[in-house]
Symmetry: C2
Subunit: 117 residues, 2 copies
Amino acid sequence: MKETNQENELMICTKSDLSNKINKKWTMCIINILGVEEGKRFNEIKKDSMGNINSRTLSMRLKELQNEGIISREVKPKAPPEVRYILTEEGWALYEALQPLFNYLDKHNSNGSNQNN
Amino acid sequence: MKETNQENELMICTKSDLSNKINKKWTMCIINILGVEEGKRFNEIKKDSMGNINSRTLSMRLKELQNEGIISREVKPKAPPEVRYILTEEGWALYEALQPLFNYLDKHNSNGSNQNN
DNA sequence: CTGAATCCGCAACGATACTG
DNA sequence: CAGTATCGTTGCGGATTCAG
């Protein structure tokens, strides 16, 4: 219910808040990629994710983000079809909201970055 | 490698950045709970999570956060042992970095909050 | 009370191959 | 290029039990 919490504090995140919306494995990464440079294509996003995300997962995340109104899908009907993903207005708001977090992560990953998984 | 990216932009999050550090199901929720009111006990955190997190997961997340230096565990050796979890300095930095995100989520969840999962 | 440990089912993720 | 299909693996989540 997310009741606005009669005790003035404890604005606790429910499952739906964090888990469903952005707390999936590549969601924030994708939003970041599309925020840094808009109009990315499917395989560009893939490449920007350090090549780690696979087609299946990327496809799923993109679809979810569309349903949530975070991104929109633009298709240019050419011979080789060209699909680009861009942030919606709400998507930009989310991207902005994520900036401090990304900054934090940048700072605290100067040391060993990727050792496991 | 997280190479500081010769092309001045595209500071893309690697797996280790988001996935390992905070992008696990209850991590951000726990950080939020401990940020709103420090010195929480195990079962208090559980309750604040809307009772949805279970002991096993909470235990794992708390241990991970300790290893990452986000929280510390304070034990008061009393007859009924009292254990409290508090944010470290780094934990507070992370909590602060998460505030815009929480605000965003608050705003955009005024509508249907918890239906699934 | 504060956890840790075990078992198990399920959902998410990953690798690969394949289609329009 | 932009995905979809299939399948294997991993990880999470719930329930329960145990220890200090």
